[in-house]
Homo-oligomer: 73 residues x 6
């Protein structure tokens, strides 16, 4: 299974995303993804050391600055 | 909805943008966006820890150095 | 042998991956890879100084933030 | 207006450019720009905390390492 | 001579590679290179301040995170 | 004049190059450049705070990690 197919299979579900050079990570419902792995999340929250820091609501994450995408628990 | 469509839907509205490796963030009115997510903002201000630091006026932000785009509040 | 062919030859096997700007590294079974070297791993774990820190399960790693890919031992 | 059109409209004028991971910024006359936002500046100077540090003369800046472009004052 | 041709001329020989954001560098025999400058090395070792730290064996290095490639001595 | 044309006009001459995330810079004779601004230099030296640190001889620099290219003095 290709990486992009794996990410597309997560649409409608919760994902956890680590961004480059950021200590905190983003958790939210994956609404859309494109070929660059740009992500559109809703109900997004910023999480640090397992603790929710901020509600962000709707966000778009730039694919080339993503380190890791993981299905939510 | 694709990430780029989401960003395009914000044209004419205020957006908040986090850039890679920067402590401060940019807030401004989104005037234009292209396929690389390069952004053209007007009335832009630099914001740090929720405080406005500087008025920047018109700016162009390079898409591949964007971490996160969020609709303004 | 081209770098991408080398990585594709590791599908189904364990790989070790160093990501840009991260102190820890990822080890897991390579399930898929695309032309951008995006990787899909299962049974992934985060490893720091040779010690397993966290089980991550399924993850997707963004190719352009990969420093190094090595066959698992 | 697209971001690239905005930058092209600045040809012949002074621009201020912030580069990724650099504390200082570059100010100069924009001579040329391409689709990657690579910039060719003349009469460029390096500026830090609002103070001119160095005259650089002619420089080329790599587009993908640009954070922000702003019209000169 | 184009940069990529120069790198291709090193296939079968030892190369030294500096990666972005890494203190150590990689030395190994260049087996393959593609248009993105992704590199496939064998007999690779990690070197820091001129001292060999680790044997890595076979590795693939991601081209866009390469700073510098130099023919081995 | 486009940025790439400017760089091509420097072939056969000395250039100074600042790389992303590196304190030192590279000076050498520009032998070749491609559309990604990958550079092939000969007689290259590493320079820090205006002092020559190391002779590097022939090197290839990866274009996307270049911050700035300047004609040599």
């Amino acid at each position: 299974m290709l990486p992009n197919q794996m990410v597309k299979s997560l649409i409608g579900k919760e994902v956890r995303v680590e961004m480059k050079g950021e200590e905190s990570e983003l958790v939210g419902k994956l609404e859309g993804v494109d070929d660059y792995m740009n992500l559109y999340l809703t109900n997004a929250t910023e999480v640090k050391n397992g603790e929710k820091i901020r509600n962000l609501g709707e966000i778009v994450l730039r694919g080339n600055n993503i380190i890791l995408i993981q299905p939510g628990e």
